[in-house]
């Protein structure tokens, strides 16, 4: 079941588009903001609200990498692996993070603190290597600075 708050936020998007279906990506992002991910149950609930079939919504959901279809940790680390960050030391940073957190990209730490995910170019190539943690952008990273940054996320 969608909460009244989720439903209200989704319905506020409806007047911006001529079809209900067009709101489905916003709707999934709204649910994800509240729950951390989009479960199969949420897919059914959103589809029902927007008058589309659950499988149609599933086809959209499975296309986009910012829609989580599995639970994630409290903080998602998005490590940029595109070319400028690669030149400036992405591999070293990834090795450092996988060793420090004892997880591979795509995995979550056992204490649910961090999920490590790769991300394409974050558009701050003059400050490579870069990553986001949740909504926050962190620039000009090296292993020591990365350790420091992660201390801020409990």
């Amino acid at each position: 079941m969608l909460t009244p708050e989720e439903r209200e936020e989704i319905e506020a998007e409806l007047p911006h588009y001529p079809t209900k279906r067009a709101v489905c990506i916003d709707a999934m992002k709204i649910v994800q903001r509240h729950r951390g991910w989009v479960s199969p149950e949420s897919i059914r609930d959103i589809a029902e609200l927007l008058d589309i079939s659950a499988s149609e919504l599933e086809s959209t959901a499975s296309f986009y990498n910012l829609i989580h279809r599995k639970p994630v940790g409290r903080h998602v680390i998005w490590l940029c692996n595109s070319v400028s960050c690669w030149i400036m030391g992405h591999d070293r940073l990834r090795e450092h993070l996988t060793k420090k957190l004892q997880i591979q990209p795509g995995e979550t730490t056992p204490d649910d603190r961090f999920t490590l995910l790769p991300i394409v170019c974050l558009g701050c190539c003059d400050h490579a290597p870069a990553m986001m943690v949740g909504d926050d952008l962190h620039l000009d990273l090296d292993p020591a600075k990365t350790d420091q940054v992660l201390e801020g996320y409990k």
């Binding site: 910012l66 692996n81 030149i87 190539c125």
Partner: protein, 429 residues
């Protein structure tokens, strides 16, 4: 005549990175272009932009005024018509639209509202990549200010022109930057590109006429309206009008972004603005405008960075943000990284793309990891051709072929050495 040191696009962008609010934007002439646009006929707006020689800044360089002129206008035209800003900046190595969106959001809003006036559009969307959290916050604020001031909504600046503008935050995937894929994403579907024709100007978002353009393109429009086409052409060193945001990333002394006259040479951007290579490193080559452009090398450094001249040198200006390869970075590793990106981001629709990129990535991985075979370079050359223009549904795979084919040309000896020595010479053995 205005001196060519003028920087209209970045004049409001503060050194501290803070955004300019609507009052600050108006102080430097903001929204005067829109006022002018609603005071003349839509046709006059289109003609002015045509005369300015503004070309699309997303990479393809299509003439903006011409694009606008394809949209049906007049009493029989279908409505609603749409204006869409492609703010899905995700081309690896590109970081220019972030600055415009975060630093001066009203400039984008005004440019879109003027475009809407030119083609008699009703609604606009800013399609912003989801990761641009700060940009989203600032655009929301700016949209609210623009509505409150009557620059958006009903009867803009007291005229008969009405235009609504909304922010849409995307959920990822590079292919959304392809304009017809972006339209499918806005409709809530999978972002597979559409067949063209019909082009979006005739049948775009929700089947209605749509103008879709890059952020930087729209940001030029208010200045053209305010200062005229001749002024805009005069900003440039060459035929294509205006200034350009140029960027440099990689191991140079001062990576960054600069607004310079269109047609500034690669050498000036690289050496004067980016400070040249870091001490101890040698320049080997660069991708002039993002991941999907052909490598250029030493002999091309005096090429002016505009659409025509970079093409003559065998590449494309693309987004104008260069990625520099130095002599301590492995060219094979770099191309492998690029092709992995394209393989991952292929939407999987057409065979040359999903199959060609998957093969290219596997072969590059083998070469980089010491398992290269003598026939591999021919296979890579074949795949680059197979993915090339005319064989695919959209420009993703042809774009991916560009760094691959040019690396095989300029860094062939490095590929051969990997195969011969069965290892990457740049990795410690």
């Amino acid at each position: 005549m205005t001196p060519i040191t003028e920087k209209p696009l970045t004049q409001n962008i503060r050194a501290d990175g803070g955004p300019v609010d609507v009052a600050g934007y108006e102080r430097t002439g903001g929204y005067q272009g829109l006022r002018k646009a609603v005071g003349v006929t839509p046709r006059e707006v289109v003609d002015l932009v045509k005369e300015s020689n503004l070309r699309g800044r997303g990479g393809a360089g299509f003439p903006t005024g011409m694009k606008w002129s394809f949209v049906p206008v007049g009493p029989d035209a279908p409505h609603p018509k749409y204006i869409v800003a492609n703010a899905d900046e995700m081309e690896p190595g590109t970081f220019k639209d972030r600055l415009l969106v975060e630093g001066d959001p009203h400039q984008l809003i005004e440019g879109m509202a003027i475009a809407g006036r030119a083609v008699e559009a009703d609604v606009g969307y800013i399609f912003l990549r989801g990761e641009y959290v700060l940009g989203a916050k600032r655009l929301r604020q700016a949209l609210a200010e623009a509505y409150a001031k009557g620059y958006l909504g009903k009867n803009i600046a007291g005229s008969d022109y009405s235009f609504d503008l909304y922010l849409h935050l995307s959920a990822g995937r590079y292919i959304c930057g392809e304009e017809t894929a972006l339209l499918n994403a806005l409709e809530g579907k999978r972002a597979n590109p559409r067949a063209k024709p019909p082009f979006p100007g005739v049948s775009g978002l929700f089947g209605k006429p749509t103008v879709i353009q890059n952020v930087e393109t729209f940001c030029n429009v208010p200045h053209i309206l305010r200062n005229g086409a001749a002024w805009f052409r005069g900003l440039s060193h060459g035929r294509d009008g205006g200034t350009k945001l140029y960027g440099v990333s990689g191991k140079v002394k001062r990576p960054g972004l600069w607004e310079l006259p269109m047609g500034t040479t690669i050498r000036e951007i690289l050496e004067e603005h980016a400070g040249g290579m870091r001490d101890g490193l040698k320049f080997r080559g660069l991708l002039p405008g993002g991941a999907s452009t052909d490598f250029l090398v030493e002999q091309h450094l005096d090429t002016p960075m505009d659409f025509t001249e970079v093409q003559k040198a065998g590449s494309r200006m693309g987004t104008g943000t260069m990625i520099v390869l130095d002599d301590q970075t492995c060219p094979v590793g770099m191309v492998w990284n690029l092709e992995q990106f394209f393989a991952q981001e292929s939407c999987g629709w057409c065979t040359p793309c999903w199959s060609g990129l998957s093969w290219a990535t596997k072969i590059l991985s083998a070469i980089e990891n010491g398992q290269g075979q003598p026939g591999h370079l021919d296979k890579l050359a074949f795949q680059a051709k197979f993915m090339g223009p005319g064989n695919t549904f959209c420009a993703l795979a042809p774009g991916a072929a560009e760094p691959l084919q040019s690396a095989l040309k300029y860094f062939r000896e490095d590929f051969e050495r990997h195969i011969r020595e069965k290892r990457c010479p740049w990795r410690p053995s």
